[in-house]
């Protein structure tokens, strides 16, 4: 998209910026309790009168069936695993996340692209390539990272179930024991998450504390959240989406 085209979208986005929804991502390893916190957060936002939607990792109705069958037969290489999850993510951003944000709905992402980055980097894929795969990146307004140790994650998971093949990273550890593999793999994933948390300034929540304490902290951070301007910050992905919506016949109300 050329500079003139971007300028046109910048103006349109600016008019929409005050009423757009916020994008809040919940990230962290399995067993960190983020889904519990996400549900509490959603209930609270609703009670405050805000329209809220949730999007979950690997849930696109178009791509999820493709991933599911390949996971079942354990047929995915790290590259295929990454690219299919990136396709799922892109489809959800374009068909669920951006339309909701544009309509003024706050979107809570139960895992966002950082999950893909952490897991794929832990599988040995080059980080600069992974960032390219997920371009253009729609940055969330706020990212909560639920921090737990590999031991805690392993204990919480093993208390309820046996980790699945890819969740346990058995495709790369070559270990037969899912739990032993999980412990090794999740330590790598957590290392990647911690680097991401520093680089992208996540809000780190100590997920070893009580559920109530964590929830209180999340509320406080959200109430202090300063709205950043979309045109300055997320112009490319939103303009990209909006250009296709407009070409398909959608007329943004603010453009009339």
């Amino acid at each position: 998209m050329g500079e003139r085209g971007l300028q046109r979208w910048r103006e349109l986005l600016k008019r929409r910026d005050e009423t757009r929804g916020l994008l809040v991502a919940f990230e962290g390893p399995d067993g960190s309790g983020k889904s519990t916190q996400r549900k509490l957060f959603k209930t609270w936002l609703k009670s405050e009168g805000l329209p809220v939607a949730t999007t979950k990792w690997n849930s696109s109705p178009l791509v999820k069936p493709l991933v599911k069958v390949r996971k079942q037969i354990r047929a995915l290489s790290p590259e295929e695993f990454c690219l299919l999850h990136a396709a799922d993510f892109r489809h959800r951003v374009e068909t669920e996340v951006l339309p909701a944000l544009w309509q003024g709905t706050t979107v809570i992402a139960d895992r966002y692209l950082f999950t893909g980055l952490a897991r794929d980097a832990a599988r040995g894929l080059p980080f600069d390539w992974l960032l390219r795969v997920y371009e253009p990146i729609l940055w969330p307004d706020q990212v909560f990272y639920f921090s737990v140790s590999p031991d805690t994650s392993g204990m919480r998971i093993s208390a309820t179930r046996q980790p699945k093949y890819y969740e346990a990273g058995q495709d790369i550890t070559d270990l037969d024991d899912p739990l032993a593999s999980y412990r090794q793999f999740i330590a790598r994933v957590i290392r990647e998450y911690e680097s991401l948390a520093l680089a992208f300034r996540f809000i780190t929540i100590d997920a070893e504390r009580s559920i109530a304490e964590q929830h209180r902290e999340i509320r406080e951070h959200f109430q202090r959240l300063e709205r950043r301007s979309w045109p300055d910050w997320n112009l490319e992905p939103v303009a990209d989406w909006l250009a296709r919506q407009t070409a398909a016949g959608y007329r943004p109300p603010a453009a009339r």
Binding site: L62, E79, L83, R90, R132, R244, A247
Partner: protein
């Protein structure tokens, strides 16, 4: 002393028309008669696009960017199961299409060239790249190539892109690669090909 297997050869056949698959089959017949064992690696070997076409009614179709990611996943599958094993066994393999067709379609649909180049950074470089066009006389190929699939998936996503324009623009890109010597025109009849 163990004999080292010579490295095989990866031959890419790209192009926008339905004749491309037939051209690749013809090329493979010539290669088999001259160079022995080898095979064809066709797009959708992983079945991704067949499954995509069977998506539940009412599900939004993929955008050009999502399609490029899905094609990359399919290509990763082909590289792992078809292309690398053949090359390592010292055989030839014809990849039809490889990366230039999807780049052409992606750019015609408005995706940035830089993104497409980076996305396909993981693929091994082809030893020879050919451009097969509808104008080549390689017999009657069935419909249903990558271009058709790409266009119908885009139509399902509600994208209003004109299919004729998209075909034309992607063809222009491949022709420009030919002019710059990055890709060779696959000659009609193939017999004159030098490997």
């Amino acid at each position: 002393m163990a004999r080292r297997t010579p490295r095989g050869q990866l031959i890419a056949v790209d192009g926008g028309g339905p004749a491309v698959a037939a051209a690749a089959r013809h090329l493979a017949r010539v290669l088999r008669s001259r160079n022995g064992d080898g095979g064809i690696s066709s797009w959708n070997s992983s079945g991704i696009f067949t499954e995509l076409a069977a998506a539940e009614p009412g599900v939004s179709g993929p955008s050009a960017r999502t399609l490029a990611l899905l094609y990359a996943a399919d290509l990763a599958f082909r590289i792992r199961w078809q292309i690398r094993p053949a090359i390592e066994a010292g055989q030839w393999v014809v990849a039809v299409p490889y990366v230039e067709t999807i780049k052409a379609l992606g750019m015609a649909a408005g995706l940035p060239r830089r993104w497409l180049v980076e996305l396909f950074r993981f693929v091994p470089k082809a030893d020879i790249c050919y451009h097969a066009t509808d104008k080549s006389r390689h017999g009657n190929a069935a419909k249903g190539g990558l271009t058709d699939s790409f266009l119908s998936a885009l139509a399902a996503s509600g994208d209003s892109m004109d299919p004729a324009q998209l075909r034309k623009r992607s063809m222009e890109y491949l022709t420009s690669l030919e002019r710059r010597g990055r890709i060779r025109r696959l000659p009609p009849g193939v017999r004159s090909v030098r490997l």
